[in-house]
Amino acid sequence: MASVTYEHVTKKFSADTTAVNDLSLSIRDTEFMVLVGPSGCGKSTALRMLAGLEDITAGQIKIDDQVVNEMPPRDRDVAMVFQSYALYPHMSVFDNMAFGLKMRGASRTEIGSRVKEAGRILRLDHLLARKPRQLSGGQRQRVALGRAIVRQPRAFLLDEPLSNLDAMLRVQTRIELQKMHQRLGTTFIYVTHDQVEAMTMGDRIAVMKDGLLQQVAPPREIYDQPVNMYVAGFIGSPRMNFLPVTISDHQAKASGFELNLPKAPGLARGILGIRPEHFLPNVSAADAAIDLKVEVLEVLGADQYLYGKVGSDDLTARVDPQLKVAVGDRVRLGVNMERLHLFDAETEKAAF
């Protein structure tokens, strides 16, 4: 159990490739922190610096109050789960899990009992004598987790641990990971490119892009109050609609409609952000309304997505699956003004 602090951490691989740029982030003890972003955004590098696998170009990383910049990985007392699992192919499942304890000089009886305990929790009891190549993908993944939990480390670092699992197993393991976090009461730092994993698992989410931290907040806040267009577009599926508007005072004018903003933003040009799920089926007189010309329909059972154009802008809307719509129809939808976002067209920062 430990807190982790990044203080102005920068990582440059060469003079002109900066993987992580001035990252400051504090992760509380027992917190489940998710670093999320597209590939190449620096999230894995941030994690690897914490593990001690990459050196730090500038800044400090602290575990509790101790600066670990120069500390070799083995002394940091953190455990890491790799995307590829990185199981030792020449060792049995038992030896894979026991390796960390052996390296730390644990007694034979302690190793035995801890590995058996972890094996029981992860339902690997009957597989302890097998080699990794004799296991399925899900089993390998559990061995990788087991190798981390037997050590009882101060923090768990997980680098996209679910990306090699098939969709069903991924959902199942996601839930198991959350249970594990509750049971162990240890700090988890979880790297993923999948916003669903981030939203479902994180106590807080740190969104990164091009080595820069964009926003750190609990999932709901990230979803409700994204600080910029990037975070707004990255979190939520399907993606938030972005509609360029010209503004005069309270009036915002898009290519296909006009609406009255709840307050005057003091901008001339903005980008209106409306999530597909925030359209209203019934238009009251007070609401703003849009006319969507439907080009593609997707019925998913619980939801129905309409893809089409409003004026000259593309737009996606989630509507009631019972609503009868055909391609080519014009559908009138209300805009939920309370859920409306506006971004500065120049800086892409949120105005509200």
Binding site: P73, A79, M103, L135, N164
Partner: protein, 296 residues
């Protein structure tokens, strides 16, 4: 379970190609292979047959030289009692074994560091080692002769044990570098985070996984030392310290007089250990030990 099922069906790409007829395969594969086999094995056959012939049979040109009528072990007895062959064999074995071990030790460390560690000048060291391998021994033997003379090692097995690594280490280093590079980096990173030092990660993770490569390198190094001729010819003048290749060519051929029986017997005995080694370890080259390490 998935891997079990796969084993029963066979790996993808290993099955028979549809429409591939036996006649076609014979013409394309088996006949060329047979021809190659005959060409390769014929000298060995002739060598073996000749070594079992009696003196009278050996020089009887009226019969086919390809068969032996009355096999005899005379030449072998002769080789062991009348020549220094037992010494040569012993010397060759000692020199080949020790120089292989020294070379492997150095090459494992060099290959690992060049493949894994990021340090200043790693690339140039790598190329330097490669270029060293390209310098032919026919150029190197002159300076080496001076070195050996300064060390007073003429007619001493150490002369060979110390000079063979000059070509074995570059060769093995480059070979092992490839094997170490083929081992996923994350395996060692996992070990480091798990509490291993760099040396422990190398000894417990990288080396066991590179074992097929290390065995292959050992085998090649051993074979190269076993067959080495030039340095042995120059540094070893005393009959008792010669190696097989030099002893055989120098002492079983006098001017234009060839002792064919002993020559063939010695050549056959000299090639047996290497052949035995190869047949033992051939499976190691094929086995891919990293299978199952990553992904699934």
């Amino acid at each position: 379970m998935a891997s079990l099922a796969r084993r029963k069906i066979g790996k993808p790409g290993t099955g028979r190609v549809i429409g591939d007829k036996f006649v076609g395969r014979t013409i394309r594969i088996y006949l060329p292979l047979l021809a190659l086999l005959v060409v390769t094995l014929f000298p060995f056959y002739w060598m073996a047959v000749t070594s079992f012939k009696s003196a009278s049979e050996l020089f009887d040109f009226s019969v086919s030289p390809l068969w032996v009528r009355e096999p005899t072990l005379d030449w072998y007895r002769h080789l062991f009692t009348q020549t220094n062959f037992p010494h040569w064999a012993f010397n060759t074995a000692v020199v080949a074994t020790v120089s292989t071990l020294i070379s492997l030790f150095c090459s494992i460390l060099a290959g690992y560091s060049l493949a894994r560690l990021r340090y200043r000048g790693a690339d140039s060291i790598g190329w330097g080692i490669f270029v060293t391998y390209l310098v032919p021994p026919t150029l190197l033997f002159l300076p080496l002769t001076f070195v050996i003379r300064e060390l007073h090692l003429f007619n001493n097995l150490w002369a060979l044990i110390l000079t063979y690594p000059t070509f074995l280490i570059p060769f093995c280093t480059w070979m092992l570098m490839g094997f170490f590079k083929g081992i996923p980096r994350e395996l060692e990173e996992a070990a480091l985070v798990d509490g291993a030092t760099r040396i422990q990660a190398m000894v417990r993770i990288a080396i066991p996984l590179a074992l097929p490569g290390i065995l292959a390198a050992a085998l090649f190094a051993f074979t190269l030392s076993w067959n080495e001729f030039l340095y042995s010819l120059i540094f070893m003048n005393d009959s008792l310290v010669k190696t097989i290749p030099v002893g055989v060519t120098q002492e079983l051929i006098h001017g234009d007089e060839f002792f064919w029986g002993e020559l063939m017997a010695a050549a056959l005995l000299g090639s047996v250990p290497v052949a035995v080694l190869y047949s033992f370890f051939v499976d190691y080259f094929v086995a891919g030990m990293t299978a199952g390490a990553v992904k699934g």
